[in-house]
């Protein structure tokens, strides 16, 4: 790892970027490197990590705000938040285990730059929704800031949020400021076994249309459920559809009964109490049931009611296992390791049913030959190139990672 540049301060970061831009040397940008395998292979002779810029620089629990240097490990942030009864509401998933690294390594900067959200996204919003401000250095070696530390801020363009989902191709962040929320007092999960994918999506959407603030809706196929380590659920693998309530205990007791009534047509659910619920959702958050087992992994965002038909369309071409999150709005698809990762069939199905697909896990050779991120339409492509040019005209930052010529 010695050949990796490790700025410890924003000024070091700027001087390193200045040196690189003067010589026109492209650079691969990393946090902890857990998501290095996502995207097209980056053609850069050097790499830089934000990992030496770490530490929590501001935490005001009564204002629901925290700021941290970009390379701060998520684990450190979550320990600090939990000590004051708070959390990151968007529940970022940990791609580490699915990509073959350990869990718990990812950095806070990478979470925002990749806009990584988890199951609570459906109720609470995405990572980008909680991002209040950033500091960083762009490909022109300019230090800039955007946003700030207050919840409501429309001063100038929303550049901070605009960097979410840019995967290190526009700027290297040095610090992020974000909103946090209180941890719920209690958690309860209703688990409906043996539903088909169509029925599961129907149930999940119905649950979210109730006034009970359902904060997680997932469906695991029978095979995926069989891979759970959860003691109560893995015994007799059946497909599982889980509905989560998070609230004060008294509210949960009431809302649980109301929900069971509304959802009674879908059978009798198991109830996972606090500890059992936490265990289940922790596994979901690590995607523990989608390990690197020689398959490819796709992530598809779509309209919930299109999810099951979309998966059925893909299934006509290949054997897949599907994990549905966001009541079907997000599908994780395990597919056979073919040379094109099933790309042609998957992209055709997505074009028909709506949404976008990203190849999350595949060998480098595959990622070099197929589009990893959703190809953009002509108008959006032109704007995207313009934005890239505005931040990084020499194409130094993660060149080619999202789109081949960008």
């Amino acid at each position: 790892m010695d050949d990796i540049m490790r700025p410890a301060t924003e000024w070091e970061l700027k001087s390193m970027m200045t040196a690189l831009s003067e010589r026109g040397i492209p650079v691969e940008i990393l946090g902890a490197g857990t998501k290095r395998g996502v995207g097209r292979p980056v053609a850069a002779p050097v790499a830089m990590t934000t990992g030496a810029m770490r530490g929590i620089s501001l935490y005001e629990p009564s204002e629901l705000v925290m700021a941290a240097r970009a390379g701060t490990p998520l684990s450190q942030i979550e320990v600090e938040l939990a000590s004051r009864g708070q959390m990151l509401p968007f529940e970022p998933i940990d791609l580490g285990p699915a990509l073959g690294t350990d869990a718990g390594l990812q950095t806070i900067g990478a979470i925002f730059v990749a806009n990584i959200s988890g199951s609570r996204r459906i109720a609470a919003g995405a990572a980008r929704d909680y991002l209040l401000g950033v500091r960083g250095v762009n490909g022109r070696a300019e230090i800039f800031k955007s946003g700030g530390r207050v919840m409501k801020n429309v001063t100038g363009y929303d550049v901070a949020r605009g960097l979410a989902g840019s995967w290190g191709t526009l700027a290297v962040l040095s610090e992020v400021t974000f909103k946090v929320l209180p941890l719920p007092d209690d958690v309860l999960t209703l688990v409906y076994p043996d539903l088909t994918e169509d029925l599961a999506v129907e149930l999940m959407s119905l649950a979210l249309a109730q006034p009970y603030e359902v904060s997680g809706t997932v469906h695991l196929s029978q095979a995926l459920a069989g891979r759970l380590a959860h003691k109560g659920l893995s015994k007799e693998p059946r497909s599982l559809t889980a509905i989560r309530l998070e609230n004060f205990t008294r509210s949960i007791s009431y809302r649980k009964l109301k929900l069971r009534e509304v959802l009674s047509a879908y059978g009798a659910p198991l109830e996972l109490e606090l500890e059992s619920s936490l265990e289940f959702w922790a596994e979901v958050r690590r995607l523990s049931f989608l390990p690197p087992n020689g398959t490819h992994l796709w992530r598809i965002s779509t309209t919930p009611s299109a999810a099951a038909p979309l998966v059925a369309a893909i299934r006509r071409h290949m054997k897949v296992e599907a994990f549905y999150d966001w009541s079907g709005g997000l599908v994780w698809l395990e597919t056979p390791a073919t040379a094109d990762a099933g790309s042609a069939d998957i992209r055709r199905a997505v074009a028909t049913h709506g949404g976008h697909a990203t190849l999350i896990r595949a060998d480098e050779a595959v990622r070099r030959t197929v589009e990893v991120f959703q190809p953009l339409g002509p108008a959006v492509d032109r704007i995207t190139r313009g934005i890239k040019q505005a931040f990084d005209p020499l194409r130094l930052l993660n060149p080619g990672r999202m789109y081949a010529t960008m």
Binding site: D129, F144, T302, G386, M402
Partner: protein, 500 residues
């Protein structure tokens, strides 16, 4: 009388007015074009009424294609365009220019599609904010952002300013509730970004577009999230002898782990005016009043309000009352939402919109009083306390020469104070012309250059809503830098000729 400089009109454009009107009629039909003086006068200002400019012409198209045709025409003829929703901007965001076409989307106000299973509504952008909730309320759903002007303001304006509202403490602001837009760029190109799914692909262009104050394109349609409403909601009122105690109460509630749907604050002058107007039952013997709303079932509401009351009791409130009926709840909110109007009945006012970290609240309120006292002006404070978004209303007499300038100077001092304590110039109203020249208080040249380059990506000729958001000299510098590079920074179609 106005002290904010506006771009000089291009006399060659103004001189071609009749021909331009004829062209617009040919493009959109006579029904869509307003060219007579009386008709145009209705569009000469927005809710920042101290500033007025008679527009060159007003066009109110009824389709995305017509918007595209007008923008193509304007671009080809290098005519500036000022986008407009309902004209309720408090910062001059919709202020016309004498050499600009005002392009209003208010006639495009249809609901296109409502999908309860997937929880979204697709609407034309000229629809009013409240009409979106109105279209889905029968099924128990609502559209969350709720600016005080929601009866009149359009979604288009909300998108341009990234509007908030009282209930965004829990539900977020506009950018958190939009899934996709159909936007016409200055080239006349129709671009669809996002859709009915969560998290659009690629760069987060929605984040950049929402809050860009109409400078990136004209949004004609949007897909917004609709949410199932809670079973019920009820506000309580807690009055304190000092703003400091009210501030401590807010901090303790939030730190305790309960996030109400809304926490609103009024100081004594605001309470008196709003009570006289709405007869909401606000206590008038207090210096600071909190309106706190929670949601849920009857039992949940009772539990949460009792919990909040127990926190408040430790601070010995002067008054504490829970709304006793739906009618009273409506009145409590009516008083709050009508606050600006109620103040407007007794005085001209200048409304500020800075946001501060909550811990600085007592200090900032003291300083606001001090600043206004120094200028000999009265001030009422009404704001979203849960997120620190202040709305000091500086009262002045518009007919007295020099008063408005004094109000503007006091306002500028207040906003500088907000930034100095770690906050920002504007929490939800936008920069517009009003705060344009204060941008350097919050941003240095490099911060602004990053933003200005993005503007050039969407509109390299700076024709859209020109003269707003950034200091005029910063814009000139950015344009010169782009020209010096041979191509405008990030020019969309890579055509250098267009940058000249």
């Amino acid at each position: 009388m106005s002290s904010i400089e506006l771009p000089l009109p291009d006399s060659s454009i103004v001189g071609r007015r009749d021909a331009i009107v004829r062209d617009l009629v040919a493009l959109c039909g006579a029904d869509a074009v307003i060219s007579d003086e009386d008709g145009r006068r209705a569009f000469e200002t927005d809710a920042l009424t101290a500033y007025r400019r008679m527009p060159l012409a007003v066009v109110l198209p009824t389709s995305t294609e017509a918007v595209s045709a007008v923008l193509k025409y304007a671009k080809a003829n290098r005519i500036r365009v000022v986008p407009r929703g309902a004209g309720t901007s408090l910062c001059g965001g919709a202020l016309p220019l004498e050499d600009a076409i005002v392009l209003g989307v208010s006639k495009m106000n249809r609901v296109i599609e409502i999908d309860f299973q997937n929880r979204f509504a697709r609407v034309e952008a000229g629809i009013t904010n409240l009409a979106i909730s109105g279209a889905v309320s029968a099924e128990g759903f609502f559209y969350a952002p709720d600016p005080s002007s929601q009866l009149a303001c359009t979604l288009a304006g909300n998108l341009a300013m990234n509007s908030g509202g009282a209930h965004c403490l829990k539900y977020g602001v506009t950018t958190n509730n939009v899934l996709g837009v159909k936007m016409v760029t200055m080239d006349g190109e129709i671009v669809e970004i996002g859709g009915s799914h969560l998290d659009a692909e690629g760069y987060d262009l929605l984040a950049l577009i929402i809050g860009s104050e109409g400078q990136f394109g004209i949004i004609t349609e949007a897909t917004v999230r609709i949410l199932r409403a809670a079973e019920g909601a009820r506000p309580m009122m807690i009055g304190f002898e000092s703003s400091a105690k009210a501030g401590i109460c807010v901090a303790r509630i939030i730190a305790s782990g309960i996030i109400p749907v809304a926490i609103e604050f009024m100081d004594k002058p605001a309470i008196e005016v709003c009570e006289a107007f709405a007869k909401a039952g606000y206590p008038t013997n207090v210096d600071a009043l909190l309106i706190i709303e929670v949601e849920g079932s009857e039992q949940e509401i009772a539990d949460r309000l009792a919990y909040i009351a127990s926190i408040a009791h430790e601070l010995k409130p002067v008054a504490l009352a829970v709304s006793g009926s739906a009618e009273q709840s409506a009145k409590i909110w009516k008083g709050r939402k009508a606050a600006f109007g109620a103040i407007g009945r007794i005085s001209d006012y200048y409304c500020m919109d800075g946001t501060i970290p909550l811990a600085h609240l007592p200090h900032v309120l003291e300083q606001i009083s001090e600043i206004c006292r120094r200028y000999g002006l009265r001030v009422a404070n009404i704001f979203h306390a849960g997120d620190g978004n202040l709305h000091p209303l500086i009262m002045y007499e518009a007919n007295t020469p020099g008063e408005m300038e004094k109000a503007e100077q006091a306002g500028a001092e207040i906003l500088k104070l907000c930034v100095a304590v770690g906050g920002c110039l504007t929490g939800e109203h936008g920069v517009g012309i009003e705060k344009r020249d204060l941008m350097r208080v919050q941003f240095n040249d490099e911060d602004m250059a990053v933003q200005l380059r993005i503007k050039s990506v969407f509109d390299p000729d700076w024709l859209l809503n020109c003269g707003k958001v950034f200091p005029l000299d910063a814009v000139e510098t950015a344009k010169a830098a782009a020209t010096a590079q041979g191509v405008p920074a990030g020019h969309v179609d890579g055509n250098p000729a267009a940058a000249a």
